[in-house]
């Protein structure tokens, strides 16, 4: 089985590649983000594990797409994507290759949103399993993985003390919740901004201050975007910000901060340290953009810790196996990870952690299945 993968080229992904290899697959791998590649891992995958890797940290946009096309040149039968760039390239410029493909997986929220929109418009040409939507993925990887690694990225990039800062988290999805929770644990005063009233209310009752970005802009020391949408922080907010404010993104694409506007309204830009660009506005105010607005946890730190990627990638491996076993039986739509696989991953992780849980007694099971019995 030929697999084409577009994933962050990290040590955890390397272990997923080893697993798929062990199952008999031939794999070509490219980066799902130009800044996230670990060059030593890319080399080891080629040299020691026989994986065709096309990825160089810091590659420009043209090289990024050239590498995606190099993976497509291997005529994959299964695609594995993180953000849906591989799938969308395949569906636009490389349509002749579609007939080889039996299915694919998608790792992240942003990719699932893109693929659902393709399915809705009737243009998705093969079935996709939304690994992101497995409970053993987003409840852990997004929350605890992004939570910890985003803080790690900010600290490595700046060495800033979080305690006592006004720390603004834009969004309150699973990733943002994780960051908000961890920042609070470090002693920051966390402010949450949202557009969804339900999520905003949850943030309020979780004990965070909730306000509009315009209000938060005036008091924030550190801003993190985790929304999946564009221009969350833009000119009107930059103008209100305090001197020295730190801006970064931990959403999938580098579109959440309007960098073009920041460039336009600045009179001076310099790289003050690795991963920190200092922009000076006309009035002398300095704003600091981390990691060029790309995923800060991958740009300045090492991405999610392996322990949490263990569950995400177990879902990936089992989903690929499922696609291979069900070739030709699935429709061209976005499927969830089958519930039994999701539960199996949770059980295996508990077992590995040495945690035992209870089983329902026969009496308890019967009670849950009956409707006649009240008090």
């Amino acid at each position: 089985m030929r697999i084409g993968a577009c994933l962050h080229v990290t040590t955890e992904t390397a272990n997923l590649m080893r697993t798929l290899k062990a199952g008999g697959a031939e794999i070509a791998l490219c980066a799902s983000n130009p800044l996230s590649t670990q060059d030593d891992v890319a080399a080891a995958l080629v040299e020691n594990y026989g994986v065709s890797v096309f990825a160089i940290k810091g590659e420009d946009r043209d090289t990024y797409y050239k590498h995606i096309n190099s993976v497509l040149d291997t005529e994959p039968m299964i695609t594995m994507d993180d953000g849906a760039d591989l799938v969308s390239t395949l569906h636009s410029g490389r349509r002749s290759l579609l007939e080889n493909v039996i299915g694919g997986t998608e790792e992240t929220t942003t990719g699932v949103i893109r693929l659902r929109s393709m399915a809705r418009q009737g243009v998705l040409e093969y079935p996709i399993i939304a690994v992101n939507d497995a409970n053993t993925k987003h409840l852990f990887d997004n929350r605890y993985g992004t939570g910890q690694s985003t803080i790690d990225g900010i600290i490595r990039a700046t060495n800033v003390l979080l305690a006592g800062t006004n720390f603004v988290v834009c969004g309150y999805g699973w990733c943002a919740r994780g960051v908000a929770m961890r920042a609070r644990g470090m002693g920051a005063n966390v402010i949450v901004t949202e557009v969804n009233p339900l999520r905003a209310l949850e943030a309020v009752m979780d004990g965070f201050r909730v306000m509009s970005i315009a209000e938060a802009a005036e008091i924030g020391d550190i801003f993190v975007t985790l929304t999946g949408d564009i221009n969350v922080l833009r000119e009107e907010h930059f103008r209100r910000m305090k001197d020295g404010a730190i801006l970064c993104n931990s959403g999938h694409f580098n579109v959440e901060i309007d960098i073009e506007a920041l460039e336009r309204i600045s009179v001076k830009k310099r790289k003050i340290r690795e991963y920190v660009d200092e922009y000076t506005l006309e009035d002398g105010k300095r704003l600091h953009l981390l990691g060029e607005g790309r995923l800060i946890n991958l740009a300045a730190a090492e991405g999610h810790p392996a322990s949490v990627m263990d569950m995400s990638f177990a879902n990936q491996a089992l989903s690929v196996e499922y696609i291979a076993a069900n070739a030709g039986k699935l429709e061209n739509k976005v499927y969830p990870v089958p519930e039994e696989l999701d539960m199996m991953v949770a059980s295996l992780k508990l077992e590995a952690l040495g945690v035992k849980i209870d089983k329902l007694t026969d009496e308890q099971r019967k009670y849950l299945e009956s409707w006649e019995m009240g008090t």
């Binding site: 008999g24 060059d39 065709s52």
Partner: protein, 43 residues
């Protein structure tokens, strides 16, 4: 095999870090062992 990486000589360094991560990925390890026995992705 075609590839395009920054420097193939970095492999030994990468190999150690991959091994380190593997220690924290017990579920994936169990799946890998099963895949080795059954080859579900062959052919």
């Amino acid at each position: 095999m075609r590839y395009d990486v920054k420097d193939i000589k970095l492999a030994s360094e990468g190999l150690l870090r991959i091994e380190w991560s593997e220690r924290f990925m017990p579920v994936l390890r169990l799946i890998r062992e099963r895949f080795e026995r059954r080859s579900p992705l062959k052919g």
